[in-house]
């Protein structure tokens, strides 16, 4: 057997041999969304006055019926970004309207679809990164929206909404997101 034919056989083995074994599961949608939420902490700059002090934790608030099954809490537990710990909280909408309830990231679950406008109005002008998973969320004034495209979770970004919330969005995040604008 020549080197050439050996290598050819090896290629076929390499290509075909692995295929039957590749049935392990793809990650779930909510896992990827949770990973994005965690990532946003690194790619968004909040103004200093959004925190009581330099070491105060950053809060990720989840509004509505989430499907994270604890993934988010487990992922951020014990992690810190830029010297701040990360908290996951689940406030009620009514609490959000109260001054002093601090959310840095507000993830609005699908269940709150009908209340989108009300929720966005509640945090309007505050340094809150609003994240949704409903078509049109970013257009209606949310900062980031998750959309499913071809079986992947992609991002829509409303940069004007980010500016209104005094958030600085890194070039990296702008690069991966598709920018949309309020009508």
């Amino acid at each position: 057997m020549s080197l050439g034919s050996m290598l050819r056989v090896a290629t076929v083995v390499t290509l075909i041999g692995v295929l039957p074994h590749l049935s392990w599961a793809a990650p779930k949608e909510h896992e990827v969304k949770a990973a994005y939420l965690y990532n946003f902490v690194k790619f968004i700059d909040w103004p200093d006055w959004a925190f009581p002090d330099a070491t105060a934790p950053l809060s990720i608030c989840v509004l509505g019926e989430d499907r994270f099954e604890g993934v988010l809490e487990r992922a951020v537990a014990g992690k810190s970004v830029k010297g701040r710990g990360i908290l996951v909280r689940k406030p009620a909408l009514e609490r959000l309207k109260l001054a002093g309830t601090t959310c840095h990231i507000l993830f609005v679950c699908l269940s709150e679809k009908e209340r989108t406008a009300e929720i966005l109005a509640a945090v309007e002008g505050s340094p809150v990164l609003t994240v949704g998973e409903v078509e049109g969320f970013a257009e209606s004034g949310g900062v980031v929206n998750f959309v499913i495209e071809r079986g992947k979770v992609r991002l829509e970004l409303n940069i004007q909404a980010a500016e209104r919330a005094r958030l600085k969005v890194s070039g990296k995040l702008r690069q991966v997101a598709r920018e949309v604008a309020s009508p």
């Binding site: 080197l3 290509l15 692995v18 499913i148 079986g151």
Partner: protein, 718 residues
Amino acid sequence: MTIHGDCIESRHRDIRRISRVLLASVLTLLVGYQLAPPAARGETEGDIFEMSLDELGRLDIEVTSVSKKAQEMSSAAAAIAVITGEEIRRSGATSIPEALRLVPGVQVSRMDASRWAVTARGFDGEFADKLLVLIDGRSVYSPLFGGVYWDVQDTLLEDIDRIEVIRGPGATVWGANAVNGVINIITKHADQTHGRYVTVSGGNEMEFTGGFRWGDQVGENFHYRAYGKYKQWDEFTMPLTGADAGDEWRQGHGGFRMDWAPGEGRSFTFQGDYYNGSTSRSSIRTDIMLDDSVVGTDFVKTVTSGKSDQAGGNLLGRYSHDIGEASNATIQTYWDRTIRRGPMNDEVRDTLDLEFQNNFPLPGDVEVIWGFGYRVLWGETENNTFNMSLIPPSRTDHLATGFIQADWLLIPDRVVLTAGSKFEYNSYTGFEWQPSVRAAYTPGETHTFWAAGSRAVHTPTWIDEDLAFLISSTAAGDPLPNGATLPSPLAVRLFGRDAARLAGVTVGGEDRKSEVLYAVEGGYRFKGEELALDVAGYWNRYNRVRNAAMDFSAMSMPAGKSYFLVPILILNGIQGWTAGFDALVSWRAHERVHLSTYYSFIHTDLEVYAGNVIELSGRVVDPGDAGPKHQWHVRAALDLPANVEYDTLVWYIDEVANSAADAFWRWDMRLGYSPVDRLQLDFVVQNLLEKGHKELSSEVESGADIPRTYFFRATIEF
């Protein structure tokens, strides 16, 4: 580095050793991977949280929620393929033409270190002239001969966002020369290339390539980058003889891009590039040189070196303005200078181009896109030999174009009809029109059926009009391409129409015309979550394809000379058809495994009804045998644990009769490892199966053997 004698054996041993080790490691990794329990395969939740935004965006998910919105299906009614910057990186390609090998249905043949032939749907060859190639909206095909100088089309490959390829006519929007396809190379927006990037690679044939990029932003909306690149290739060897091909290549590139988006839908782009380098072709045919004892002094200017120098640059500015939600206007202008100084002649060319484009919606689900442009081309040449010259040596051409196309959403989410035409006025043939009608039917989100009919033209080029080329036979009794034998030593000069007139040679026949293509195409695309399928078939009818004929009735011997002049007329004497199809299957078998394969077939039936097909070398050939009939590619990209990537590409290319190139199998592979974030190490082997094979001959000289190549590459971002 040059490979000689004993060295070859030791290198082979090295490569065998390297291949075995690599193969063994890959197999071990794969086997280990399969046997490992799911948790060890990086399937835990935590792993996802370590991923970058890019990686998250690429993850295929198991869709469980009801938030899944209608997937936007690419419903283009054309054979479109896109290769991404990521695919280029993973392929190990070191140049743009090598990256084009990834596109189904595109034929890429390397002829030596610095020269490639690239075509789609037939008419292959170094001077393949039926593609329109654009880099960031700047046309890079040479108006001298209609083909592309691939040796100078380069940039930092990492800055390429994607390459969009349309196989088949794209003339309605893109314009003349987009007969068999359009290649659109698009670099990244400057806001995507922040930071510093350095890449260094070296190996046996590609001795060194180094590149850097530096990008940043000023304020919120202004982004910029600058890059530089230098490459140096060793010479290849010639087939059969094993002699040095004398084709060593070195070249430097540098450039910048600035993007400014001041808001309100306005954006500005300003970019430019400069390059300088030299290639060699020691194998310039000697039989086209005449001995001065035979022909007299005006023929003699002996070529002593095959070295040629290339330099050039371009500046491009673009302003784009969104008008409301659904309308946009773009204006673009560029200036391009190309300088080539070769053993035969020197060429300096300037191109100034201005284009405007606007799209807007009309009531009734109609979207209109229209535009116009004007291009001026100044060309100047200097003949270093009598063998090839342009008469007159300089020329200015004008090209005015306009186009309009409408997309009509006949049945929302189901049927789109597209119709339009390009209209242009050029210096050679005057007015040309290039209409097309297309339809796409999308029953459901994932399936697209499409069909199209088009007319496209290939307008004459500078050489068709003004080239005088010497082909010679120095001995009496030599047979001529038309079957006659030479009465005495003879020089035959090929004249374009203008050149013949200026040289005082009587020319008959009709004026030059454009080559015309009528194309009927159709295809089907399926894009599922894991599986994608793309089949496109075509039938192309070509009329008035360029060829040439010797006119012996007008043979004359200039006073006091001992040679004859025979005009060779450029004719439009070929007609016929090509038919074929390309089929692509792409399967994301797993988030870490991407497999794809394509097969491409072409049948060519061209009839020469006037004149001959004579290569510049004087050889008569069948134009149907210029490229491979069958092509088959298999590609696999695997993400292994521990930040290891493995890519492999195996392909088969059928024989090319006109080039005396045999069918061949080729296997390329790349092993990538990222030990820490921002550092990437790669080992690439190309053409692993053979020490070399010929892919295509040039029309004027034999192609070199394309050798087995391996190199290491390190890239760092900081």
